[in-house]
């Protein structure tokens, strides 16, 4: 039994100056967060209701991140490639939902049959987003299946720009307002807390979508094939699985989830723009890495964690340090967390599951 001390000494002997720097960086970040946390506790500024609303909002935005992250994680699990265009697939889903709702609003369906219009919008956004995701696979992945690692990265970046600025040209540069309808307005009392009804609906829809996804992945033939390809692509081919079809199906499934995320995002934030996709996509990827890339429950966990950190973080850590207007730094917190995870725990919370083993 070697004790803790000799192990530490051994570690110290092997450490290079880069390791020392990394440890120092870890301590620094922990110190800042800890200091902010304690200082925030000593001078509480928010009441119970505010904390509850931060929490609920974090869960809502986290659910949206989780839906986006699922698309990343499934694709990455099979192909080991980042899809920069995934965020723009999400954006197109949001536009599709928005225009469906507007169309329903124009012929009065939205007021009389809100559930039906919601279902129509859901269908539209899933179809459009799945179609675009398949297009992304065709353009940016299939030609490079056996090629260099950088080519798909760069071509999805290009595709992302094409999609963004096509949306700008087609739908206009201004923000687009989601039509509001009475069925989702107002608030509900849950455990004595008033929570906006739309947030409850969005949470419910997101959780339902994730349940359906789990069923698809665990119970259907295609889901089984997906897991087989993610486990070992060559063995899957030997078992007679059509890998091309599985990959297309994976992209379509991920795209459909991103489309649902687009609809929910629009319902919560009421406004969408052509530019919103890219950075939500990056955050979705961050959530996927946080949970462990290639790992489906991990993506859900990662999404919710990222949402919570983003919504609670400013009040929890930054307020205590005395930063002016901490809410402006929300994105900075999210990105810092993303970078930290990439550096210190690239395996994520639940561990990664990848088709191609790391060299």
């Amino acid at each position: 039994m070697s004790g803790l001390l000799p192990r530490l000494q051994d570690g110290w002997r092997r450490a290079t100056w880069v390791d020392v720097f990394l440890v120092a960086l870890r301590l620094l970040v922990l110190g800042i967060v800890g200091y902010g946390f304690v200082a925030g506790l000593l001078h509480p500024r928010y009441g119970r209701d505010e904390w509850a609303s931060f929490l609920v909002f974090g869960l809502v935005i986290g659910a949206i991140y989780a839906l986006i992250a699922l698309g990343y994680t499934m694709v990455y699990g099979i192909l080991r490639m980042v899809n920069f265009a995934h965020g723009d697939v999400f954006m197109f889903g949001a536009y599709a939902a928005c225009f469906t709702l507007i169309a329903c609003n124009r012929n009065g369906l939205l007021a009389t049959q809100p559930a039906l219009s919601f279902a129509l919008a859901l269908l539209a956004c899933m179809l459009v987003a799945a179609g675009l995701a398949i297009l992304a696979e065709r353009i940016a992945y299939r030609p490079f299946r056996r090629g260099r690692a950088m080519a798909p990265l760069i071509s999805t970046l290009g595709l992302s720009f094409v999609l963004e600025y096509s949306a700008r040209g087609m739908f206009g540069a201004q923000n687009k307002a989601f039509p509001s309808f009475p069925a989702i307005d107002g608030a509900v009392l849950v455990f004595g807390l008033s929570i906006p009804r739309v947030q409850l609906i969005v949470m419910l829809a997101a959780v339902l979508t994730m349940l359906v996804l789990t069923l698809v992945v665990m119970r259907t033939r295609m889901g089984t094939a997906m897991r087989a390809v993610a486990e070992d692509q060559d063995a899957a081919i030997l078992m007679g699985i059509n890998v091309d079809r599985v990959i297309v199906f994976t992209f379509a499934l991920g795209g459909a989830l991103a489309g649902v995320a687009g609809l929910l995002y629009g319902l919560v934030f009421k406004q969408i723009s052509f530019f919103m996709g890219f950075f939500l996509g990056v955050k979705g990827f961050g959530a996927a890495v946080l949970g462990g890339i290639g790992n489906i429950p991990g993506a859900m966990l990662g999404g919710f964690s990222l949402g919570l950190v983003e919504s609670l973080g400013p009040a929890l850590f930054l307020e205590g340090i005395g930063v002016a207007a901490p809410y402006q730094l929300r994105d900075a917190i999210a990105y810092t967390m993303l970078v930290m995870v990439l550096i210190f725990r690239p395996r994520g919370l639940l561990g990664e599951r990848l088709a191609v083993k790391r060299a």
Binding site: F21, L22, R148, S160, Y165, F171, V282, A332, T336
Partner: protein, 535 residues
Amino acid sequence: MTLPARLEPLALARDATRLALAVTGACAGLVLVGLFGQFSNRWLVVGLLDIGHALMLAIALRAGMVAARGQSWAGAVPRALLCGALAGVLVVLLVMAARVANLRWMLVSLTPVTLNRVGYMLPEQQAMLLLAAGGAAAALLGTALVLLPPKARRLLMGALLGVVLAGLLRELIRSLLSGLGEIDGWAFSYDGLLPAGAMAAAGIGALAAARPGARHFAALPSRARLALQLLCLALLLLLPAVTNDFVAQVMMLVCLYTLMGLGLNVELGLAGLVDLGFVAFFAVGAYTVALLTAETAGVAHLGFFAALPFSVLFAALAGFLFGLPVLRVRGDYLAIATLGLGEVIRVLVLSDMLKPLLGGAQGIVDIPKPALFGVILGSPTRLFYLTAAFAALAGYCAWRLQHSGIGRRWLAVREDEDVAQALGINLVQVKLMAYTIGAAFAGLAGGLFAAMAGSVFPQSFQLLVSVNVLAVLVVGGIGSLPGVVVGAAALIGAPEVLRDLGEHRYLIYGLVIIAIVRFKPEGLSPAAIRQREVA
């Protein structure tokens, strides 16, 4: 392929229909994203063809080239004619459908004016005939381009390119040739290229394509060739001084992006590190110069040339500090990590937290122009020479670095990290070196940018800049020094010259990036090593 003779018409119709549908889709996309609307009221050749329709014809031409693939004249010509004509008819049918459906509440670019312009404001049958004829002609031309013997093909291509370039770059050409008063009368008018000018441009293009002196040039001794090339370069450098501020400004931007491209080339091209947070170092350089020189910032009131070394230094330091933690991250994670870092910097600069120092969204203004030996470098021309001098210096440094020991180690790491490590290369050290040096180049570019713009705002340092620089490298050829210049000229210079491309330029960037990665992965001006690899 030997098909039974009676199946031949069927196959022909099928091929042509498929191509026509693709052409129609592409044309519809052109109208939907607003490119057609933007360009349909600008002439390529006055009175004959506007740029919007020219784009449509280009699509049909491309389809004609595809139709000719693997076919003889007898098979290709009917395919091309049918495809072009069918596409013309389909486009007009789509326009009619769009008028009926009236989707303007959703698709903002489908204005009645734009829809009318697709058919030249003609009644529908005539529009159909006209577009079908045009499409068929363009597709036929495309077929001819593929099937003609090489010499004729090159002449035709040269003539076409000559007209297109003269039409697109007419403002540049007019401003370049403004000294020769006569050219305005017959070749160009205020609206654009006149038919006579188009003929002349076609002739010049064909002549250039024929390359009459090429054999003599190749026969010259290498020293003389180098001298001639240097002479061309010197003439190019003289351009801004003898023409106007617009040319100087465009060339200055090209130089600035060349400078940044050289930096990213060290990271991506030599060491193989994908960096999407490159703009952060550019921002560090710009803010350093701004803080150290601006009257309003009140940190120090240095001159520009005293502040510039600091901006290089601080950017390199930032690169070093960024690089330390992220460089152990694997390939595509690195892209995301650097992107995240770049965004953190931008959010911090924008925030109220650092507003007292960096000015928040208002930025820092009133940065004095650089002064050298009492001469204030205020005009675009002078700033261009300053930027060009630094770009040349940076190019020399990059060239020396590439062929030094560290350059070889970078290449080894890029090709295979494991092998490089086995050969005794310290991966972290070598990558860190690349990252720091790349950041220093970006810092230099940032410092120059601050001085030439006279003010710095957080909005100038968006992710778009990083992507632009990446696109410059991809287009020019990753890892190639001349490629950086070619890429910067093609991506930064050309859209500046095609003034009213506006925000559509990013759409074009995206398309160009996808096309290059797919069809010409070694870039327009590939590095020697890549050339050897591909060959």
